[in-house]
Symmetry: C2
Subunit: 123 residues, 2 copies
DNA sequence: TATAGATTTAGAATAATTCTAAATCTATAA
DNA sequence: TTATAGATTTAGAATTATTCTAAATCTATA
């Protein structure tokens, strides 16, 4: 594991949850001033592919990277894209299992809202 | 309602469900040869804003437009982006309501899989 | 020390969608 | 009919997050 990859992993683990590649890059630059976005993307995506972090993709928002690996759902602000974890809601999957007859699937549950600070912000 | 807007509405209502703007454009061109993508986007998004059709946005897929207005969930192929409706699964919302204390939210449930034809296709 | 493979860099490319400003159309009022 | 304001459409540029490419550099081992 390269120095930069380790750094990316640490920053995702230590920073706030649901960081964007840009946020990781900003933090990484403090330790490796010349580091480039492509490197951060490379490493974050590699880490996600290896299952060391998770990558959360929601339409109209920047991809986010998360240290939490266990499946859970998200609350996303449609205005600023900020993301919070939801406790794992018990989504009943029996009907899905029946419908898909053994076909593998993964569930993504997103609750959309306008977060407090956006509600209070003008415009 | 302009001629083109009516046309877009009809094409979403008559075509297959979950059409992309591009598919609507292809169909629209047969009736209005000079019509431009921006017009299709304009009209589809206006129709969605007015609640006459719905717009479904999933990360990494083209936006899709749907005649179905009642809330329901989607099964999306991660390879080709094709989309099917899911019967409305009973997602328990009491915990969400508690968590968000009166804050308005909308739920989006997406099941990701690889569709049959992609499973059978090479690569 | 040589070398192959991995990593990083810089910058171009991608692609769906939106934006902009000008042109055109449409409906109503004079 | 004509004038006019507003809506609609057009053409093409812009946006933007992310990916790609090819060259440069680094690293670990033989």
């Amino acid at each position: 594991m390269s120095k930069n990859k380790k750094l990316c992993l640490r920053l995702v683990r230590e920073g706030e949850s649901h960081v964007t590649a840009e946020q990781v890059w900003e933090a990484a630059r403090k330790e490796v001033p010349g580091i480039v976005m492509a490197t951060v993307y490379n490493n974050l995506n590699a880490l996600a592919a290896e299952g060391l972090i998770s990558r959360i993709q929601v339409a109209n928002t920047k991809d986010r990277y998360d240290r939490t690996l266990s499946p859970h759902f998200h609350l996303v602000c449609d205005r600023c894209g900020s993301m919070r974890d939801l406790m794992e809601l018990p989504v009943p999957t029996e009907q899905m299992d029946l419908l898909l007859e053994g076909d593998r699937y993964s569930l993504e549950l997103i609750a959309h809202h306008i977060c407090k600070s956006c509600q209070e912000a003008p415009l």
